[in-house]
Amino acid sequence: DQQVKQNSPSLSVQEGRISILNCDYTNSMFDYFLWYKKYPAEGPTFLISISSIKDKNEDGRFTVFLNKSAKHLSLHIVPSQPGDSAVYFCAASHPAAGNKLTFGGGTRVLVKP
């Protein structure tokens, strides 16, 4: 039973437009959320995170939104660039789990020039 789900396995977007990636979770104990980016044949790299006390966190072109009541978060990339083409993973953790992260299935993003 996946506690973190990314229901869109893939996303295609034109360069310069917005990419919106979605993530849903079922465990209400989760209170810290992260997004990782992964290129083929490389390990995931941390992109941005958000604590449950916030509903938005922004870092340059990347913004993460959290809706706790809906158990939903999203990652916005504006503007999208060809170098953003990668697989994006949503992850979550909670205090009782220590530093163990639970990951979603990933969304493959393709940014077309």
Binding site: A41, H94, N99
Partner: protein
């Protein structure tokens, strides 16, 4: 600069072989993790360790064991490799303490069992 290094990028092993995957981190992190990545399933936790000689099972520990004799090194062992263990294996480390901390990943080992 933060670094997690996995000993091999690509490995091909035969069914029934004992396989060792090594991971070293240079950040003095207490926590270390082994994940495997499969298409559509994301990253699934195999084992993790909060301290030297300490280990805990993750979500899919069957067929695997681990060893942590030194703080910087965490080894994943496939006791008798099987074809369903063909996967991308990812090692990660993080600081202990708060739950709100990111994990740093190695470059991954693509293991093929034939």
């Amino acid at each position: 600069d933060v670094k997690v290094t996995q000993s091999s990028r690509y490995l091909v092993k035969r069914t029934g072989e004992k396989v060792f995957l090594e991971c070293v981190q240079d950040m003095d992190h207490e926590n270390m993790f082994w994940y495997r990545q499969d298409p559509g399933l994301g990253l699934r936790l195999i084992y993790f360790s909060y301290d030297v000689k300490m280990k805990e099972k993750g979500d899919i520990p069957e067929g695997y064991s681990v060893s942590r004799e030194k703080k910087e090194r965490f080894s994943l062992i496939l006791e008798s490799a099987s074809t369903n263990q063909t996967s991308m294996y990812l090692c990660a480390s993080s600081l202990r303490g708060g739950w709100n901390t990111e994990a740093f990943f190695g470059q991954g080992t693509r293991l093929t069992v034939v």
